[in-house]
Structure formats: C-alpha cells, structure tokens
Symmetry: C3
Subunit: 280 residues, 3 copies
C-alpha cells in the first residue's frame, strides 16, 4: 500500500491533502512454467466507475518465453516505450509532466485493452490494441485502436519510439512519439517529442519537453519543462508552457519528504505542495 | 482471488475480456466451539450498489451442532438444493445454464436474507427467508419471501427438491423445482425441472434442462440444453431454447484454458469465448 | 475485520440485519524512529461517495516525540477529548448515544481534515482543523473550521473539555463540550454536557446525558439517557428525550451476543435489536 499527507497551495488558499491506498498483487505459475497474475488497488473498484472485476481498471497478465500479454487498464505500446518526464511534488501537482498518449485510455468496463511485450537483450518491443466500438457508439466493423513501440535500454542511456492510431468511422488520428534518456554522473536527463495528427475536426498537437533528476544521496531534485503547440489545418491555434521543480528527501523505512512547485499556462496561478509520502 | 483474460465473440465482433478479483475469507470460533465467519469480495462493495458492509452483498454465518445460519446475499433454499446445469466457457456466456429461482435475489442493503442449513448423513435440509417489505414498497405486515428445500447426496447420485413462495400485497407467486444428478464413469449428468406459478399479471414459467460434464483427466468437456416455456392463464405465450458446449484444459498451478459456444433464442447470434482463467 | 448478524425490530416489523467488513492497517517507521501509517476499510472506498484514496475516508498519520498528526476523515479535537455516551445494541440502534460535534464532519474527497494530538503524563491535548471552502461554496479567504480540546485521564476517572468553531462568510457557530467519567467497582458512569451557539438562521442546541456500563464478567449491561434542547433567539423551540438499555455476552474467540432497546422522540416507535457481533 501507499499513502501521503501534506499541504497544497492552489494559488489562492492552502489546503490539506491526504490519501491511503492498498494494492493487491496476485501471482501464480502453471505446471509448464508460465507465470500469471493480476494487480489492482482497492480503489480500482469504484474510481471513475471503472472496476477491476470488469476489466476497466487494474490488469491481469500471463508471461512466458514468448513474452508477456496483459489485459485490463493498460498503457499503450507507445507510452510503454517512451514514458513521461520526471514528475515533481507530493501530489504530482496535476501530473502535467505526463505526455498525452492517443490510445492509452480507451478501456472501460467489459471493454479492456490488451498489451503485448517481448524483450530480447536490451530491446523491448510493445504492441497494444483495444476495441473502441462498444463505448463510443461506433459500429462493430471498423473501430480498433492500436499502437506499436520499441525501447532500447542500455546501462546509461535509453531510446524509445512509438506509433499510435485511432481509425473509427469518420475519425482518423495518429501520433508519433520519440524519446531519449541519458545518465551523466548523478544526473539523469530525459527528452520526449510527440506529434499528433488529426484528420478531422480536432486540433493537431505537438508536445515536447525536457526533464532532469539529480540524485544527491538521500535527496533528489527534479525539474521539467513541457510545451504543447496546437494547430488546425496548419494554422497555429495556441500553445501552453509548463515548468515544474521539486525535491524529495528519503526519511527511510518507506517515508519520503516531498515538495514541488508548478507554473503552467493551464493553471490560473502557480501551485505548490509539501508533505510526506509513505509506502507500506 | 481469481482472474481471467481472453476473447469474446458476440456474433458480430471479437472483443477482449479480462478481470481480477480478491475475496476476503474471515473465520473465528467461540469458546463453546461454534464456528463463525464472513465472506465477501472487494467488488462486493459497489457492484450494483450492494455492499457487504450493509448486508446487501457477501454473507456472514454461524455454524455448530444445530446447523449453519447465514445472512447477507444468500441463495434461496430451493437454489441450494437444486443448483444449476453445468456451465460453459471462460465468462459463462450469459450464464443461461443457471435456473431462475424465485426468491434468491430479494436482498438489498439493510435488508439481507437468511439461510439455514442442517445436514444429517447424506441428507441436507434448507430453509431461507427474507423480508421484501422495505425495498418494494409493500406494507410491513404481509411481505415475506421464503423457501424450503432438501437434497440427498450419495456418492454417485443426488436428488434435490425445493419450494419457494412470494406472498405480498396483491401478489402470490410460487415455484417448485426438482433435480437429479448421476455420475457414470467419467460422465456426470444432471437434469432440473422447475414450474413457477404466478397468480396475477405475470406469465407462468416452466424451465427444464439437461447437462453433461465429461472429465477426461486434465481436459473437461461440458454441454447443456435448457428450454423455458411461458404461458398466461393456460395459454402459451412463447418459449426459448438454449444450448451450450464448452471445454476446459487444466494448465496447473491455478491456470485453466477455457472456451465455449452458446446458441440461444435470447441472443441475436451464436456467441463464443476463449481464454485463460486464474485462481490465486 | 468485523461482522454481525441478527434481527432488528423497527416498531412495526422484524427484519434481518447483517454485515461483513475488512479494515486495512498499514504501518511503517522511518530511520529516525517516526512511526507512520494508514487505516481504512474496504467500504471506505465508496460509502457516501467518500474514499480513502482521496482523503475523504480513513486516515493516515505520522507520530513521534512531538505528538501525532493525522489527516483524512478525523474526529474533531472536542470529540476526541469528550467522546460519546455508552452505546447499546447490536447495530447501535441509530447511535443516538453519540453527541453531535460541530466540526467532526467537514471532510470530503480532496479536502481532508487534520488532527494533532500530544500526550504528557495523564493529559492529552488535541487540535483539529479543516478547510470548509471548496465544498461549501464559500470563498477561499475566511473559511476554516477548527477545534481544540484536552483530556485528563487518571486510572479511575477522566475529564474532558473542548471548543469548536465554524467561521465562514455569514456564518458564525461555536460549541463548548465538557465531560466526566468515573469507575466505581464494576460500574463506569459518564456524563457529557454540550452547548452549541449559532449566530444566524439555525437553532441553538444544548445536548446533555448520562450513561452507565456495568461489567459483570462475560456479561455487560449498558444504559444511557440523553436530552437535546433547541432554542432560537432565547426562545425554546422544542426538545427530544432518548433512553436506551442493552446487554452483551462474550462467547469468546471474537463472538459476542448483543441486544438493545432504544426509545426516542426522534423515532415513531420503540426499536430493538438482537444478534451476534464478530471480530476477526
């Protein structure tokens, strides 16, 4: 389980924040050596109406020599290959360090997603798919949502590349994402670039950003910068800058002091938080 | 806990299916040797709005020399005595192999049902009751829902008989159910017949069916046929046939490959599923 | 976990009652010896829409030489110092033995309360606070809800005193509560007096009452009397009497037979319950 307690400043007012959660980790192994399992949190039974008992939250998996297959509330292949920038603060402060991936969130109850992963040496290939038909009112013939991606992870650097596509009646969207990460002494630097192309009524979106985490023993310092650029039919329609900085101090035994500041065009004010995070 | 992952074909489209669940099993024993306990799943806290913390899901029990008394989301006495036909598939494919029992589902939050069981030798007697008053808008005087049943289970065969009654203001419904089961070598055959008589505005319903499970070591094959006949005031108003066939292969360690096909007048198309079921 | 099963007589009709619950207790300790943890029940994830994962139910804490700080669904300082009268019955029969504290229930999801406790010798000081702004539509500047209290607990007697205040735009409410408790042989007697003063459109409320618990080995007998007096601008607007009596018999191993009777001006009829309570 995990928990946290602290304060959030929302630009106007200081408020308390706290939470406690428990995660169930289920594992087994078949006679032929396939491993299988499931993971979900207690709050996965009602948050947003999605529940692990119906495939809309948490996930199950089966894993062997031919790779690992997961179903449930999975990340897209491109998100698995590229990930997010380093985050800051006790609560994540809106999690704006996270990139928006086109096909990570189409799952719902009775409509889980599937993710396949295969690792050989330093390279991992990912493929994900889900059926958008039932929940979005499209007919049953042409409604899949899919993604492929790959990640090469050496000891001090890593690269990722991913592609995602939504092709349903009247809508045709796709997104490329590329990322690189390198460790230089105590500092880890990560950069991500993503280009979403919408053939239709929505804006195209470019996301890019850079983050650094500096590991000074018990203390970590993180910072990120992310920019989102919107355009329609080649004409700019706006952009948004976000930066964040944060620090964490390990108290040992699963307790960590954490604090952060985020300034974003998405928020009216600069926001900040501070407190203790727990893992049990 | 348990889980599953696989594919469902709904007659039109192939879709993923998955789930993960955890069950809490609580037990204790008093100084005089009465055993007691409770059982509920995590998802029993919100599925359909019924929760184990308010008696509408899961159950608690106390058990001793005088029998076992359970309260909560219990099955009726007749359902305990007669049960259901053998099911097929990874997901149950609609669970049409299950008989509809008149008084199994009147529980709700703050209005649990009670079930009493007493076993002597090969014979078990069942009695169940709940109060339908609060949730169904009837007055408090004449609103009970009850059932009695008995089951004789020898080593290779079993018989069951049950009666259920709903007697509330203006409604008078009852249902008889009889069942027999026999094991012949590796095959187990089960037959159930049920007759529901409604004095009032609803149809009478006759349900009957037969199922076979053939146990060939690690592989099991199951099949069922069920027919429901509807009539009003002695005049036929329709019927529905359902058949199903399925197979299961035990992978060991709690993992089982399962698949099935169901064709039913209740569904527009023949449906099928296939995948892996887990127990943890 | 805990559970119960039995019967409730609501003055008109006898009905079954049952429940089963599981509580998660998470604990840890930092390298410097601070203890921390979290507690919540499975049903804390959806009951009344409040969830432990968002701070509206359950709580987390950190504790050391400088006291204990808790956040989440906490009791007010005055409630911690004074508590409630002894309760009766299997289900609590409406929990009318409990005093209404002004500031115990302002928490909600994303808006937890904070409670600080410090003990020196027989004396414990309490302070609690929460921010009522976000959920009650008040502006962010002048919307805190707070309480202070103290309790002196010797071996055979205890005294408590607490003050609570709600000061938000246009509303100014406060409540004093004082309590005393003494043990005389096998009997424990408790008295509480509380005075809530509302500057505004609501009634002032005086609550006072007395309870006795007599511990006769495996059997306990409890009784309480509570009176609530309502007035507006110094003019009486009504009052309500409640008395209750109950008994409990310990069956050992975590099972207890319990029953009670409550007669209250808040209920149309005298109500009663009887059954078995479990702890696991």
């Amino acid at each position: 389980g995990d928990g946290r307690m602290g304060m959030v400043y929302d630009g106007d007012d200081l408020q308390f924040t706290s939470r406690a959660r428990v995660k169930f980790t289920l594992t087994g192994e078949s006679d032929s050596g396939l491993s299988f399992g499931g993971e979900f949190r207690v709050d996965h039974e009602d948050e947003d109406g999605s529940s692990a008992s119906r495939g809309g939250a948490g996930h199950v998996y089966i894993s062997g020599a031919y790779g690992k297959l997961s179903m449930g509330d999975i990340d897209s292949a491109s998100e698995k290959a590229n990930g997010d920038l380093h985050g800051v603060g006790l609560t994540g402060l809106g999690d704006i360090n996270e990139f928006v991936y086109l096909t990570s969130d189409f799952e719902s109850n009775d409509n889980p997603g599937a993710l396949y992963e295969y690792t050989t040496g330093a390279f991992t290939a990912y493929a994900s798919m889900m059926d958008a038909g039932d929940d979005y009112g499209f007919d049953g013939d042409n409604d899949t949502v899919w993604s492929i991606g790959g990640k090469y992870a050496a000891s001090n650097y890593a690269f990722g590349l991913g592609y995602e596509a939504v092709d349903v009646d009247g809508f045709d969207l796709n997104q490329w994402t590329i990322s690189g990460e390198g460790t230089f002494g105590q500092a880890t630097v990560k950069a991500i670039y993503s280009d979403m192309d919408n053939d239709g009524v929505f804006d195209d979106v470019k996301q890019y950003g850079l983050s650094v985490m500096y590991d000074a023993g018990a203390t970590d310092v993180s910072a990120f910068y992310k920019k989102d650029e919107y355009s329609f039919a080649g004409v700019d329609t706006g952009d948004a800058d976000t930066w964040g900085i944060g620090a964490a101090y390990d108290l040992g035994g699963g307790a960590t002091l954490k604090g952060g500041i985020v300034d974003s065009d998405y928020n009216a004010d600069t926001i900040a938080d501070f407190g203790v995070a727990f893992t049990f």
